[in-house]
Symmetry: C2
Subunit: 368 residues, 2 copies
């Protein structure tokens, strides 16, 4: 199954003509999951090779405007451009994010009279008090869903920290299990861990032929991990005829943060194929970065090292860092310096470093 | 006093890479007034020659997302890029628009933890029931300002239709009087009439010298329209020494509409130097346009003719109409056809027709 990730916006704080506001798409066989949706994301999507109509799930790391202000417009435009064939009911869009997101969508879609051709549900993560300074926490009066639900809103879940105190289980299906974990930022912020299930190895067709087993239903049972009994009465165990399991991929996408809460998330993200981490300012601005709830390349590298990630992708750069293609000789604030800083911190670690740019697509191959 | 208008977005329904969502700036001597603020307006502003920090007033014609979704982000970015010098308190931004706008800003700025370095006030226009179909009207539960005001929100006015039943007086200052009037659209929509005050003509300096009057305070009194008494006792009336008054300019900017409510707005807009009117679809799609609460070039032209406007500027084009610069031979939906349709309808009327494009600046010279 092919899998890749496309960055639609790599700038922090606000969108600019050379860096969009935060948004990236994880794509698996045509289905698109959107992570954050800053203002202008719908236009960035149109400029990319991706199709907005393929978005089935949206994950919002935190409620800062540079990660959220594009969401109402994106939903409206997806609806406008979708097939209004009443025969073909459109799939529901599931939206995950911090408490307050449901109210945000109700009010923005409701006051603007925005009707959608598809249903949506907002599943809210319940933050804890230690995720942000007190002034960054939303009082109950701010999220008191006073108005009626939007006509296309379906009931969503409220998801609390699991009993281990380490993470939030967003969902599990045949292909993936997706969890969230807590970050420290000016307001409650979350990271997401997308884990693909391991898949059984390929059938050893030579061996099956030796055993006298012809292609048929028994092949499927063995592949599914069940033993098969031959006419002779001989029982064949899957382990005899299956190659090694294909390990599922792990993709970890962190929202804005100056740190991660607890050790649990490091274990959760352990061995990630891709770890996406913000690097708003260079190491020389570490104090300022932390004051604003942000990270430097050195801090992102430390997380990647602790997780033994295979690849660290940096994004969410201050708008002072122009894309390399627009960099001129003598410009201060060279974004490639951010990459060097992360690489320096990861010497001999085996972690590769990638600098995201708008419209960069990073393939996520199966491990061989 | 110089005056011009710059279109930041001329597309309808949603922003695209070739047409931004609705927004235009009326500029008078460095002060900028923003009319509508679709998603991406802040980025369009950065691409233009205008400075977002100069925006002192915002007018929202109606609450559809393609006219509004850019406003919270714009306010945040203006604040981020403003001088945080606590000595220099920043001017308040006054925002005018339909009922519901105050709640929209409270919730979007509040839930995203957006602090502004300047105060703002929302002055709401009270729509009437005949401005839209019933399903387009906001029930009181939708605009029940349940949460606390935003920390930077100052009390705003609620403005009702004046006793004549024709218009809303937004404000009057030394230079301008600004009124709004009702349009018919899917949801309550308004037009704005900006009328510059007439100014006294220049002093006839020859004549003053003949009368023996030297430059000094009496010049100022005469210019201000007051009589002046010479030492001889002779009284000079302003009319004796002033050239003809300089007529103020009139700029009329209409929101989305399929018609105007009543005759009052036509009188209000009479003789407009510039009338900005939407033309979402060509004349051949008139039925569809009206069904959706929109206008064709022919309908816009009829309004311009009824107002005896000097210039009609068309904007808010369906995204099917590419800008002329991107038009290829054989493309259907040629935007210049919309201009021809308006011109045909205005033959011999003396009304000039301009097709707006993103970043087009239209000068608004004084009448000579
Ligand atoms: Zn951010
Ligand atoms: Zn943030
Ligand atoms: Zn519109
Ligand atoms: Zn509209």
């Amino acid at each position: 199954m092919s899998m890749d990730m496309t960055f639609l916006g790599t700038g922090s704080a606000y969108p600019s003509p050379h860096r969009g506001a935060s948004a990236l798409v994880l794509r698996t066989e045509g289905e698109c999951w959107l992570f954050d949706c800053g203002e202008g994301t719908q236009t960035q999507l149109m400029r990319s090779q991706l199709r907005a109509g393929r978005i089935t799930k949206v994950f919002i790391s935190h409620l800062h405007g540079d990660h959220l202000f594009g969401l109402p417009g994106l939903l409206c435009t997806v609806s406008l451009n979708s097939n209004p064939d009443p025969q073909q009911s459109l799939n529901r869009v599931d939206i995950y994010g911090p408490r307050g997101l449901r109210h945000f969508l109700r009010v923005t879609l409701g006051l603007t009279g925005s009707q959608l051709l598809f249903p949506y549900a907002v599943h809210e993560l319940e933050p804890t008090a230690d995720q942000s300074p007190e002034e960054g926490q939303l009082g109950p009066e701010m999220t008191a869903e006073s108005g009626p639900p939007h006509p296309q809103e379906q009931p969503g879940r409220t998801i609390s920290l699991d009993t281990s105190g380490e993470c939030y289980l967003l969902f599990e299906d045949k292909k993936f299990v997706v969890k969230a974990f807590r970050l420290f930022h000016r307001i409650p912020s979350f990271g997401f861990c997308i884990r693909e299930h391991d898949r059984p190895g390929r059938l050893k067709t030579e061996r099956l032929r030796e055993l006298g087993l012809k292609p048929g239903p028994l092949y499927g049972r063995l592949k599914a991990g069940e033993p098969a009994t031959l006419e002779s009465g001989r029982v064949i165990l899957p382990s005899e005829v299956l190659e090694d399991a294909i390990p599922g991929r792990k993709v970890c996408i962190l929202g804005d943060c100056s740190s991660i809460l607890g050790q649990g998330p490091l274990t959760l993200c352990s061995g990630a194929d891709i770890l996406v981490h913000e690097a708003t300012l260079g190491n020389e601005h570490r104090e300022k970065a932390v004051d604003h709830g942000h990270s430097t390349p050195g801090m992102a590298a430390a997380v990647a090292r602790a997780c033994c990630a295979r690849r660290l992708v940096l994004h969410h750069f201050s708008q002072r860092y122009k894309p390399s293609s627009l960099q001129k000789d003598g410009d201060e604030d060279d974004v490639s310096e951010l990459k060097r800083q992360a690489e320096d911190a990861l010497l001999d670690s085996g972690v590769d470093v990638t600098l995201a740019e708008d419209f960069l697509t990073v393939p996520i191959p199966l491990r061989r």
